[in-house]
Every structure is written in C-alpha cells, then in structure tokens.
Symmetry: C2
Subunit: 237 residues, 2 copies
C-alpha cells in the first residue's frame, strides 16, 4: 500500500488531518503506529514522526510512549501569542514611544505578591511603577516587583531612563514564565495615571517569570482602554 504521493512531512500532516476531520479517525481513537504509517505512505518513519510531532505540538493529537498516538478527545486549539516589548508595540502603531518612571523603592512585597514572587522564604524585592506612553498618550501602566535574591544586579538600577522590562531582558535570563490575562475595572490610581475614568475596563496582563525555578519578576501591566491583543491559530499567520 505504498503511496508515493506522500513524500513530505507536510503532506503527511495534511493527510492525517484530513482523516481526523473526515472522522476516519474519530476523536479519542488510536491511530496506527509510526512504522505502519510509514509503510502505508511509503516514506521513512522519521518523516511520519515529524508530521505527528507537529500535530501533537498543535494539540490535535496526543502521544505517549508505548501507549501510541490518539486523536485528541477535545481539540484544544493552541494559539500562539507574540508578546513584543512595549517599545516595539508602540512603534508598530506608528507612534513615538516614551517612558516615565513613577516610583522606585526597595520594600517587602505584600502577601499576594510575595506568595508568587518568593513562595518559600521572605525576600527583599524592588518595587517599580512606571508609565509607557504612545505619542504622549498613556499606553500602559506598569506595576512591577523584582526579586533581588534572583536578580541582585537590579538593585543598582534606578530605572529612570531604562525601562525595567528591557533591562531585565538584557541582563537577567529567564527560562519560563506565566502570563495571566484579564479584564478589570480601573482603580482610582490607575484611572488617574492612564487619564481615564475609574471603573473603565482595562486589559490587564500579569507576567511572572522564572529562571530555573527561581522567580525573577512579577509585572502587572494595565493597558489603556481600547487595547487589543491578536493571536493566531494554526500554522500560517
């Protein structure tokens, strides 16, 4: 049953997707193993592996050693979000970027922050608040805590001219992070800084980054009203 029309891993990926959509392989079903598929498609196992691995990364199928490969029961679509540095985000809008530091102090983080920034022991932290502007208009209000145990070099910076995110990107590596997105009503302070009304719906992004299990920084970014984030599903943009 060697079919010479499937030569590239992309074409194999397409054929597998077709069978899933056509319900030849319904959700939850096991699909043949790589060796059998390679024989059927008339290609090397590595090529089948490449195709199936890509589909697994996209969340369409689930793979486990020995257990085999099965079609995902609930096709979780996995979207990728590009999160640029704010300076770039502003530049992409064709506006001029400006940055203003509002406050800067070493302090003991409040419990809700400490819980995530230093869950194990009490830590010293740097608290920085700042405003990012797009052509003079408030764009993002940033409220950031930096764990000085993980990033001691940050203590030497006052972040008046250099924004904290860019400095950290350049000087403190991180291995992984977590981002929480939500909609929240503007507080009195946030409304004043962002020049909007208290209660206005704000897009809020909370970022917590880690370096090999050690928390680096927790940033809360409040976007001015009207901000949108665009992400993509599937392969092509």
């Amino acid at each position: 049953m060697t079919d010479p029309q499937f030569k590239t891993w992309q074409s194999i990926q397409d054929e597998v997707l077709r069978r899933i959509h056509a319900r030849e392989w319904p959700p939850g079903a096991d699909i043949p193993n790589e060796a059998d598929l390679a024989r059927e498609f008339g290609c090397a196992r590595a090529t089948v592996n490449r195709a199936l691995r890509a589909l697994a990364e996209a969340g369409m199928i689930e793979r486990r050693r020995k257990a085999g490969t099965r079609v995902a029961l609930h096709p979780v679509s996995r979207a990728t979000v590009d999160i640029p540095v704010i300076r770039q985000e502003v530049a992409a809008l064709g506006k001029t970027y400006d940055y203003r530091r509002l406050s800067h102090a070493q302090a003991v983080p409040p419990t809700n922050v400490a819980q995530r920034l230093c869950p194990d022991a009490p830590c010293t932290a740097l608290h920085v608040t700042a405003l990012h502007l797009a052509s003079g208009v408030p764009f993002v209000f940033e409220d950031r805590w930096i764990n000085l145990d993980t990033a001691p070099a940050a203590a030497t910076q006052d972040f008046v001219t250099t924004n904290a995110n860019e400095w950290l990107l350049a000087h403190v590596p991180y291995t992984h992070g977590e981002i929480r997105l939500s909609a929240e009503a503007a507080s009195e302070d946030e409304a004043r800084v962002l020049r909007t009304d208290p209660g206005a719906p704000l897009f809020v992004m909370e970022r917590l980054t880690w370096d090999h299990g050690r928390p680096v920084t927790l940033a809360r970014l409040c976007y001015a009203p009207g901000h949108k984030i665009v992400t993509h599903l599937g392969t092509a943009p």
Copy 2:
C-alpha cells in the same frame, strides 16, 4: 573542538540559549551555521538543526535560507494559549456545564461583521446568540456569525441543543484562525444576559476561523466578570 558533552538537541538548545543570554551572541548577531556548530559540538547537523528550529519556533532566533541564523533583535516572547472548548473550561472548574440558545436567524451581517466574514462579496450568513452557564451561573455570552457559503451544512442546524462551536469543530474543518482579546464595558444587553451591571469590565474574545482562505465563522465571546486566561512562556509548563 569537538565537545562530547553536547549530545542531545536539548543540551545544544541550552548552550545556544546560554550564549545568547551571556551576550556571546548579542541580539541581532549572526550565529555560526549548522555545519560549523555541529563540528564544534561534535554532533550531527540534524541535531543542531533540531535545536535551532525549536528556538526559532519559540521566537528566540530568526532563520533564513542562505542568509543564516541570527539572534532575534527584539526577543518577542511567544506564549502559547490553550483554548479549550467552553464545556471543558467549565468542567475544569468543577462546575456543571449548561447551554442555552438565545436567538437564531439567517441574516445579512452588518458591515463590521461582513468586512471580516465575507470581505470579497456579499454572503448569506447565520446569526446565533447563546449563553454558556457554569453551575447555572452565566459564564460566556456568545454572538456568532457563520458564513453559509463556506459551511452550508450549518443551515440545517438550529443549535438549540448542540452548541455552535462544538458542532463546527466536528463538522467544518478549519486551517487557521485569528483571535482578538480585549477588555470592554458590558453593554445593556450583555449585562442583562450575564447578570451583571452595564459598564462592567468584560473579557472579550473574538475568534475568526478560516478554511483554506475562506472565512468560516466569526464568534464574539464575552466572559462574565472575573475571568482570567493563563498562558505559558518557554517550554515547561
């Protein structure tokens, strides 16, 4: 300079990341080609390719044929968001899922919808609004348009018992999509349906899916106040 300590593509990825963080290869710099790196690390070129490809997918480096590989100038962090079917989202919260269709009609989409759902020609579309509930409490208000030229089978469905998203996932394949996230103030209608106050900050997700260049459906999902989306940066969750 063959260094036998780099055997797996993961270890090579780590080493490349280390050099990027250590500024041995600063942002924007070209990095050696695969063949040279393979020689340096004492491994096969395919192994280096695997490592670099993963880094490129993560947005850390940029690769172009002939031009070579360079460290990304602006380290856009690329986060992956898992977007489950709402039924699963509710189930994951330990609540019981319920679905209620509110309206259903074939109609000519308003211009702002038509612009995205059928940019080329006027099209017939199906308009469905529905409410998703978690343990009886309004969870998501859905306002969806379905392009009947792309998905004619949808015209036979009334979506009273089957929710449109799940039916579409099961019957109409899509190749890619776009998701827009924003925070918006609840309108009168939205507030009434979601049992909240007009002006309350709502997390809004607009999804537009395509099948080979043909728009399938445009869905606007308004989450009840308090909803958060969590995403991950880097490899490990």
